[in-house]
């Protein structure tokens, strides 16, 4: 009971409510002091926020992938991408991608056909694909192996295209056993399936795949797809227009000698 609620000293004995203070008349929904609950709420939000940011910030950027997949990069030999286009094209586009990554799939199926026809086949640039398998994708390393074994028979790009087109049926959410799908693609691409299968089962090119991932990490790639054109890193899906603009500006500037990659000289 507040002192104002004490019975009046004179007059009627009925306890009349005290006239509201002017303050409460103005703000009829306010209490004049800040309840503890308010500070608890702010503290709770701050705690959750700091904890979440701390968790994200301390989560190693790449070491988890590195330790899982590139532990043997020291003896993995050189990284080796897959080239499409003219070896001596004036501009060199490097792509780091994950076969199971939906945005890589989106880019490969929607944008890349235009890029191939109008930039690569036109001789304006070439493109070198490097594996950048992410740990959250269960079947992506297997897909990289499938593609590398197709490369052994000069069919990397047909396998690359098929893998990306059919991502939904072999990805880690769809199946535990992607090999059956890859084998079908190998046969559809006209590969020597027996040879492909023994290569795939032996994980013959695992070290190259690890080395390609290591190459990406070394160059500062941390998401897929990431493009490197000239000296610059372009993370994320890039539209045809955007790539064409970059290629054109580099062509004007006299090519991209800086885009040093170590692609194998095997067009298509």
């Amino acid at each position: 009971m507040s002192p104002t609620n004490e019975p009046p000293r004179r007059g009627s004995s009925a306890p009349t409510p005290p006239p509201p203070a002017r303050k409460t008349t103005v703000r009829n929904s306010r209490s004049s002091n800040r309840p503890k609950a308010f500070f608890w709420l702010l503290g709770l939000i701050a705690l959750i926020g700091v904890a979440a940011l701390g968790y994200v910030a301390t989560k190693p950027k790449s070491s988890s992938v590195q330790s899982a997949e590139t532990a043997d990069t020291t003896n993995a030999g050189p990284s080796q991408g897959y080239l499409i286009g003219k070896v001596d094209a004036p501009v060199k586009i490097v792509e780091f991608a994950d076969f199971e990554c939906p945005s890589c799939g989106g880019w490969a199926t929607v944008t890349e056909p235009d890029v191939r026809t109008r930039i690569i086949n036109a001789g304006l640039a070439n493109l070198t694909f490097y594996d950048f398998p992410l740990t959250q994708h269960r079947n992506t390393v297997a897909a990289s192996n499938a593609a590398a074994c197709a490369d052994e028979q000069q069919k990397f790009w047909p396998m690359h295209d098929r893998l990306f087109q059919a991502q939904d049926e072999w990805n880690g959410e769809a199946t535990d056993a992607p090999k059956a799908f890859f084998k079908r693609y190998a046969s559809e691409a006209g590969l020597d399936v027996a040879k492909w299968e023994s290569c795939f089962d032996a994980r013959k090119y695992q070290k190259r795949i690890s080395a390609n991932l290591g190459e990406g990490l070394r160059r500062g790639v941390n998401s897929t797809p990431t493009f490197i054109i000239g000296n610059k890193l372009y993370p994320g899906m890039r539209s045809y227009d955007e790539l064409k603009g970059i290629v054109d500006s580099l062509t004007k500037a006299g090519g991209s000698a800086a885009a040093s990659s170590t692609p194998r000289a095997a067009p298509r």
Partner: protein, 147 residues
């Protein structure tokens, strides 16, 4: 819990979300990721900057400002300051319009939805709604005074 306290709490949540997006944009945090439907496509698009600053940084400044005003507005000394409520309504209205523009860009132009950007848009809308109710309390209070 007064309306301004709710606004302060919402703004604090907004501070952390925009701080995360800003740090992400600056490359200080972030993980290896595949970028579909995620904030990466949005946060690396050309619309992720506004007047030379990352949009997320504008958001951070906005939420810090709203948080400070709302917090000051809960002090017994200032809780009857109508002008603070007017400022909160005006600022959050600008915030809602800006968020609406960004959400339109996400849906119609970038074709990618960043869940944290959407969360921020929801928070700023809630701030506006609560701020408007807060301002209306004054009107009601004043009309009661007159009668």
């Amino acid at each position: 819990m007064t309306k301004r306290m709710i606004v302060a709490a919402l703004a604090l949540a907004g501070i952390f979300i925009s701080l995360y997006l800003t740090l992400y944009k600056l490359g200080i945090i972030g993980e290896l990721s595949c970028s579909i439907g995620s904030c990466e496509t949005v946060n690396t698009s050309k619309w992720s900057r506004f007047l030379g600053l990352p949009v997320a940084a504008w958001g951070l400044l906005f939420y810090l400002d709203v948080f400070a005003i709302a917090l000051i507005g809960t002090l017994p000394r200032f809780e009857d300051e109508r002008v603070l409520s007017i400022v909160l309504v005006a600022e959050s209205a600008v915030g809602v319009l800006f968020s609406a523009w960004l959400t339109y860009l996400e849906l119609a132009v970038i074709h990618a939805i960043c869940i944290w950007c959407v969360t921020s848009a929801v928070i700023v809308t809630l701030i506006l709604v609560v701020s408007v109710v807060d301002l209306r309390d004054f009107r009601i209070g004043e009309s009661e005074l007159r009668t």
